[in-house]
Amino acid sequence: MPDWPSEVRKLVESLGLPPAREAAIVDELAQHLSDRYEELLAGGADAEKAYRCVIEEVSDGGLGRGLKSLELARRRETAAHEGSAGWLGAFAKDLRHGGRLLRLDPGFAVVAILSLALGIGANTAIFQLLDAVRLRLLPVANARELASLRVESNTFGRTGSFTGRNPQLTYALWEQVRDQQHAFSSIAAWGSDALNSSPGGEARYVDMLWVSGEFFTTLGLQPRIGRLLSPADDRPGCGSPGLVLSDSFWQREFGGQVSALGKTVTLEGRPFEIVGVTPRTFFGVEVGRGFDVSLPICAEPLVIREKPRLADRQQWWLSAIGRLRPGWTIERASNQLATIGRGVFEATLPPQYDAVDAKHYLGFRLEAVSASSGVSSLRRRYESPLWLLLAISGLVLMIACANLANLIVARATVRQREMAVRLALGASRGRLIRQLLTENLLLAAAGAVLGAGLAQILSRGLVSFLRTQGSRWSLDLSPDWRVLACTAALALLTCLIFGLAPALQAGRTTPGEALKSSGRSLTAGRQRLGVRRALVVSQVALSLVLLVGALLFVRTLRNLQTVDTGFARDQILVAEMDLSALKLPRERRTFAKRQMLERLRAVPGVLSAADAQIVPVSGEGWNESVNVPGTAVQRKLANFNRVTPGFFKTLRTPLLSGRDFNDGDTLSTPAVAVVTKTFVRKFLNGANPVGRSFTVIQQAGRPDRVYQIVGLVKDSKYADLREEFSPIVFLPEAQDDDPDQSMHAVLRTDAPISGLVASAKQIAAERSPEVVLNFRVFETTIRESLLRERLMATLSGFFGFLAALLATIGLYGVISYMVVRRRNEIGVRMALGASRRDVLALILREAGTLLGIGLVLGTGLALLAGSAARALLFGLTPSDPVTMGIAVVSLAGIAAAASFLPAHRAATLDPMQALRED
């Protein structure tokens, strides 16, 4: 009987099967071959033939191949299963070990996590703001299809009256565009306004969003409750259309109750019925602003009664937004708008324009711009500062990382023995590096989590910093995927940046060297010191850049705060009074306003009072084209203002020659004016202005108005503190033949302002409880106009200080480390006769070299980077030598002080002690 097990074993032994498995297979297959042999014998074959037949059936190699592929598949599966479990297990172990080490060194852990958290938190907060202001899409369906219209007005600018924050179109222009455009599948108009919702007394303004009928359908919005405005609501001459509320207003004023539907809201004394509420996430199309209520455009004459805007072709107050046709690009849309532009402007030419203004108007162009992230004046003002702040906080993060790298390298020196022992016991370098990186990942993760929390607090703090007495910013600061990705990326980046170099260093340790002495072999130490030196130099350089930046912004703020404004801004209250409820006829208005002013002047504590159409630095303005007969000055723009006698005295603007307005200036006497020095320089060539005259161009068909100059005042700021002095013409209020119904009383007082407010309210109430009031402290208005500069100065100052602190700590650490490393050498030097002063000089020279290189590099970087901030500076250039000098000296001073401590320690070493150590 053949030995079938042996035959089978020959076939399978080369497969490398586990012994138990091989034995089982041999057993089973041997039995099968034996059965086959018996079968052949029973069939009549002789033993020899039967044996050969059976062997042939198994010798073609098929059995081996089949079993081999089976075994390989089984091994792959096992390896994959064990591999993943193995990798995860090692990672978990590293995490636990890293956590333990950090608990044992809480000082390091706290410093590391805090500096990371601060850096990551600041970066994320600013990115979050940027995201909300610039990057995030409008919360409507398919926001990328949205585009808005703009009038490209060439160099001459548009003429007329501008209201709202984004006045691109007049109503006439909107109608033409709506009817003739082909670029948009759906287009709508909107405008912003502030309307008074209180019946009298102090005003309560609500933010109004005027919309055309297609606005909500164009944006694809569904109502939260009730219904939204539709084209049926926006018909010319609409009687009393429904009112739509924003979700936030509905929550605030009506407690989010469905019963709000059918109730009314009073605007400018007129009630409107609530028909619906917009979705929770919808804030309008202006990023940074919300709205409270919305009415169709046709209702505008119902609330703006004296000078309604619908019929006036010179009132610019609307914007247009629409959805581009499928497949249309912005360029294609602009081209289509350009083709209809001429016709549109011809059809809407204001009849009051003279030939020159008409020519300019007909030269305007229409174009489309993307509106996927809405429009925003917040964006216009704050986008570049925010990008700059992001760059600054990025630099701070880099400095923090460099500091941490330094700390970790120092730690690695201490842990050299531990690494050496582990290498000697068989750990791979890769494993060591992985463990070190995992520890850093732990730090980065903790820093990121804390930083994310800090970011929420910081960004909300920033937004409330930006809020002023006059405006309400609202931004959606809920973190979206971009912000979270930013934080995660920052964490990962910091892990790599400050973890990799030291980890690779540790991996290069030779166990033998490290175990021999106390780990202070010169070569390894020198390498490490080189890395730390490079880190410190880079820290110093970056800190200098940040310090220079901070100083530039702080000095800009200081320059603006101390700039000569031409008036004294303290102790002034501005009381806006709207007398339209009194329904005074035109000819009685000036008298009524004068009476009010007299009563205000009589209040105890009021030193002087005057009325002005435009309060300086309020953002409002009025300009006209001026001719000076007999000179080359033709159609030159000057700023205008209408004031009562006593205005210059109230604002303490010096009268330089001639006289102020007085009661003798009336409608029946020749028109007079008071001008500023810049007007004299630009319009009259510096000649004495008193007695000279000029003309103001009027509407088509009317003769130019002639004014005689009776006084000259000092230059003063008109709309903005940053502007150069502009030519200003003051006209007397008493000679206004078309006075409006509101006044801006400017009151100078030596009493507390709150008391004055109460008196003013009382005076107004006595005249009529329906007079609407609004109060502003002049100094606050001016301070708030510098908000952007204050933001930059505060934050860059904070970051600059932080950077300097971090760099100083870094330098201190490196110099201390160097002293420790060279103790032996110092001991030898002192034993050989070096004095303490020599040692001090040695150490300080080292520190000075590092500092010097860092400062030189930093100065170069600061000069390069400075141009990015040029537009935000005032009164100085980015390469201002005084600023540079202060920054260099300050940083050098702090750094020198930080280096002195370890240098002093070295100089006071006991040489015997130092020599005794190995």
Partner: protein, 117 residues
């Protein structure tokens, strides 16, 4: 004209259906490898034949996947043998494959019957 060749069926067809054959043969009662091979040859009239090299790797694969379960059984007077029985999972798989095979064969028959008609 016969539409199934008298030669041995194509290799691929054999491979795909081989597992189903084995599972169906151990459906009623456990069998050992030699018995399974003889049954396949016998019931197919010699058309299908599995030798050691092709049968056992297949059996072991089915066992790996949990469709069959192998057990050593020692009967009086005989060498011990490994018997394979169908598991619940194997029973489910057999049901599915039988259904697929039925649909396949029906489709083939319909096409070729139409040709012949």
């Amino acid at each position: 004209m016969r539409y199934i060749a008298a030669n041995l069926p194509d290799r691929e067809m054999k491979k795909g259906s081989a597992e189903m054959l084995i599972l169906s043969l151990v459906e009623r009662r456990p069998r050992h490898g030699y018995e399974i091979g003889k049954l396949i040859e016998g019931r197919s009239g010699g058309v299908l034949r599995f030798n050691v090299a092709s049968l056992y790797p297949l059996l072991y694969r089915l066992e790996e996947r949990g469709f069959v379960e192998g057990r050593w059984v020692e009967k009086a007077g005989e060498r011990r043998r490994r018997y394979y029985r169908l598991t619940a999972r194997g029973r489910k798989t057999l049901r599915e494959r039988r259904s697929m095979w039925r649909d396949f064969v029906k489709a083939i028959q319909q096409i070729t019957a139409a040709e012949n008609a």
